[in-house]
């Protein structure tokens, strides 16, 4: 092969890999991402039953019920609307009534939400950043946005 051909094969090979990777990335971005919603914008956006989303809000005071077994149910509210969430598993250390929570899972046909992941953040004033911002957009202020948290 001449120098030119070698260089061409190198460039073409590189482009092929890059193209393949770009395709993978686009495909993954169209399918493997989850959108964040608050209880009140669930109604406005068209979240399908069974679609994987993140639902964030505050855990309503007095709404946490334990059982049966390792299942915990609680209500997630953004003060405008409330959604009942049930979760089978161990809640994070920082999960509290009256504090911010982000849950990940699927909407059920009856309007409740089944979560398989619960993320809680620290501090009684804390609220997930996404939630605080979307509440601010709706004109609701609740606590301050904490600047410190723990992953999961």
């Amino acid at each position: 092969m001449t120098r030119k051909q070698k260089r061409l094969s190198l460039i073409l090979g590189g482009l092929a890999v890059l193209g393949l990777a770009a395709g993978l990335v686009l495909y993954a971005l169209s399918g493997a991402i989850t959108f964040f919603h608050t209880p009140s914008d669930l109604a406005d956006t068209h979240v399908q039953v069974g679609q994987r989303i993140r639902l964030g809000g505050m855990v309503e005071q007095g709404s946490v019920t334990k059982g049966p077994g390792t299942v915990t149910s609680f209500a997630v509210t953004d003060t405008l609307k409330t959604v009942t969430v049930s979760y089978d598993g161990i809640l994070p250390d920082l999960f509290r009534e009256g504090q911010g929570v982000v849950t990940e899972g699927k909407m059920q046909p009856d309007g409740s939400f089944v979560a398989d992941t619960v993320l809680a953040k620290h501090d009684e004033n804390y609220m997930p950043r996404e939630l605080a911002e979307s509440l601010k957009a709706k004109g609701v202020t609740l606590g301050k946005i904490a600047d410190e948290g723990t992953p999961q």
């Binding site: 092969m1 120098r3 070698k6 094969s9 190198l10 090979g13 590189g14 890999v17 890059l18 990777a21 993978l24 990335v25 495909y27 993954a28 971005l29 399918g31 493997a32 991402i33 989850t34 959108f35 964040f36 993140r54 334990k66 059982g67 049966p68 077994g69 390792t70 915990t72 089978d88 598993g89 161990i90 809640l91 250390d93 920082l94 990940e104 953040k121 620290h122 997930p128 950043r129 996404e130 979307s134 946005i145 600047d147 410190e148 948290g149 723990t150 992953p151 999961q152």
Partner: protein, 661 residues
């Protein structure tokens, strides 16, 4: 009240001036050929290190004696904390961690000044100047926007304490290692920029860059592994990697640094890929700067985001723009003047290293998109999304798998022109053994997906391929054992290092595949006396009692671990409440064996006096960290190679350096 904090403060401000001097004077000197000015960089680099070390020592002193007249100590320490965590608290916060950052930067600068005696004076002057400019930017940032020496008057009696989940031995040393990796890449960056200014890249240049990059890569490897180990046993989620943006921020420089240590070999041995290597050096440090920005600016919500402060974010963003933008502009302007290097066939050692670089960089790009896309989308449309593990499994996996397949091949291809047939002939035994492993896994693997046999075969392929590499080089089984042993002793350390690092990668892959596919998770409510089965183990909840530690209280649960009738251990999982903040944490009960861990977490109380428990059997999980340690060892072997030793790489000798094989 003492004045030690003020001494630290003054030393820091002096360091700003010295860094500016270190940037300007040697650079001018190198342009004008002024030897005295060029030499000035050496003493400036040493002085800068001494000043920052004084400053860092002063802050550490304030933490150790719990000097609550210093605001930074008040906010991040507590007198009841054990000494280790009072010290690690120094870098467990934004200001202190930035000080550690510049301390390590200055340490690298001083190392170049001291050990760079064999560098041409101009190159050393320019490298130190670029180092000085980076140091100047970050020192200015510390003094103006995140000063750790600000006093409070009147001083409070007690501090607020360090975030309890950071109070952990592995995490105490995670930041210094990680920073040593991040900042070490600044040396490669400085060499790249210096080469662009000089307009010259040759084999000797690569021989100087490679050990520094290797050191950075080794520290980065250990730092990331420590962080992952911490996440595994401290967060109580049983996972070891979450594709969290902050993890990705450290992983991206690692990927590019890995590419760089491979491409630098091509520059050194074959005088090719020069422009690409310079670009990689710039990119590697750019990514580590970007990591600093992502983590420190608070655009990400994370345990690492110590403080959300728009002013700080903007400052770091500015530093980022100046260095990345500046170096890339310089690259665009000067790179065409670098002479293109030698020729090689697509199937050759060089070719395989190009493929390695291509795949590593594309994999890094996929991680980059996944990490920044949510930020970009939110800024542009206001839509909030999270990109999690499914995205990365789908993109990173398929890109990295072919790379893993090619690793043993690459090592067997000759320089300039390789012979696939010959490589296969030498590798057939490794290939056969790897396929055998795949078949065994396929036979035993009842519920796992197709990835299990494939992944395990690839892991075995990497390990056996590395062994075959050493075997071929020492003539194992072909020559008498004594001869092979002699050859092994005479083998260049870098060749041995390559094989060891690749074997470590194989071990790591085995761990990753095993835990992703065969983990057993049990979530169950247990009353005292009740038993749950976790794989072949039985875990009995024996009951719980109160717990008192130095700076926390809580509950501890005892679990009896049995396999059949044999009692293996009593595990303890704790729920701790830390005193100053009232923050709860969980301690995991862990039973470790070489083939996997039993992992027990005590959860909240549920109905009827029971507690929710989460238990895992994590097969081969320790292979992950063991593999990382082996990779580190490979780096260590490679760096101890004779040709990287002080005095070895003279530029004149480098010009005519022949490939080692």
């Amino acid at each position: 009240m003492n004045s030690i904090a003020e001494i630290g403060h003054f030393a820091l401000i002096l360091a700003v001036g010295v860094a500016l001097y270190q940037f300007a004077v040697p650079l001018m000197g190198a342009q004008r050929g002024d030897v005295a000015a060029m030499r000035a960089g050496i003493s400036a680099a040493l002085l800068q290190f001494v000043l920052i070390a004084i400053s860092f020592a002063a802050l550490t002193h304030a933490y150790v004696i719990s000097d609550f007249s210093v605001l930074n100590v008040v906010e991040n320490s507590h007198s009841a904390k054990p000494l280790l965590y009072r010290i690690s608290g120094v870098w467990g916060n934004h200001e202190g961690s930035m000080l550690l950052w510049v301390l390590i930067l200055a340490l690298y600068g001083a190392a170049v000044a001291v050990f760079g005696g064999n560098l041409p004076l101009e190159l050393r002057a320019r490298v130190l100047a670029i180092q000085g400019s980076v140091g100047f930017a970050f020192l200015l940032f510390i003094v103006l926007a995140s000063n750790p020496f600000i006093r409070v008057d009147p001083p409070p009696i007690e501090g607020n304490g360090l975030n309890p989940i950071l109070q952990d031995p592995a995490l105490a040393f995670h930041p210094p290692f990680l920073y040593a990796g991040y900042v070490g890449l600044s040396i490669a960056f400085a060499f790249a920029v210096a080469a662009l200014i000089e307009g010259r890249v040759d084999a000797a240049w690569a021989r100087w860059v490679r050990p520094w990059t290797l050191v950075a890569w080794m520290f980065l490897t250990v730092g990331i592994a420590m962080g992952s180990w911490w996440a595994y046993y401290e967060l109580g989620w049983g996972g070891w990697w979450f594709w969290d943006p902050v993890e990705n921020a450290s992983f991206m420089p690692w990927l590019v640094a890995t590419a760089l240590i491979h491409s630098a070999i091509v520059v050194e041995k074959r005088n090719a890929l020069k422009i690409w290597t310079v670009l990689l050096s710039i990119l590697a440090f750019s990514l580590s700067l970007m990591g600093a920005f992502l983590v420190r600016s608070g655009v990400l919500t994370s345990v690492h985001a110590f403080a959300v402060d728009p002013q700080r974010g903007a400052f770091i963003l500015m530093i980022l723009c100046v260095f990345i933008g500046g170096s890339l502009s310089l690259f665009a302007w000067r790179a065409p003047q670098l002479k293109a290097g030698g020729l090689f066939a697509p199937v050759s050692r060089e070719g395989s290293l190009v493929v390695n670089n291509l795949l590593l960089c594309v994999a890094c790009l996929a991680v980059f998109v996944g990490t920044l896309y949510p930020l970009a989308l939110e800024t542009l449309t206001g839509e909030k999304i999270s990109v999690g593990a499914p995205y990365f499994d789908l993109t990173f996996g398929p890109i990295i798998l072919p790379l893993l397949l090619l690793v043993p091949f690459g090592a067997f291809l000759g320089w300039k022109r390789g012979d696939v047939g010959l490589a296969l002939k030498r590798l057939w035994l490794a290939l056969a053994l790897a396929l055998l492993v795949g078949v065994i896994v396929l036979a035993l693997n009842v519920r796992g997906p197709w990835l299990a046999p494939v992944g395990m075969a690839i892991a075995a392929w990497l390990v056996f391929g590395a062994i075959a590499d050493v075997a071929a080089k020492t003539g194992l089984f072909k020559a008498p054992l004594a001869t092979s042993w002699q050859r092994l002793a005479g083998l260049p350390r870098s060749a041995l290092g390559t094989a060891v690092a690749h074997a470590g990668l194989g071990i790591l892959v085995a761990g990753v595949i095993a835990i992703s596919l065969w983990r057993i998770e049990v979530i169950v409510a247990l009353k005292p006396g009740e038993t749950a089965a976790v794989g072949k183990y039985a875990v009995t909840f024996q009951g719980e009692g109160p717990l008192t530690g130095p700076n926390y209280t809580g509950r501890t649960g005892a679990f009896l671990l049995k396999q059949g009738d044999r009692e293996l251990a009593t595990l303890h999982s704790e729920k701790r409440i830390f005193k100053p903040s009232g923050m709860p944490t969980t301690e995991v009960g862990l039973y470790q064996t070489w083939h996997g861990d039993v992992y027990v977490v005590m959860g909240d109380e549920t109905t009827g006096g029971a507690r929710a428990m989460r238990m895992y059997y994590n097969p081969l999980v320790n292979f992950i960290w063991f593999g990382a340690a082996v990779m580190f060892l490979g780096g260590l072997l490679s760096i101890s190679d004779r040709r990287y030793r002080v005095g070895a790489p003279r530029r004149a000798a480098g010009m005519q350096a022949a490939p080692a094989e």
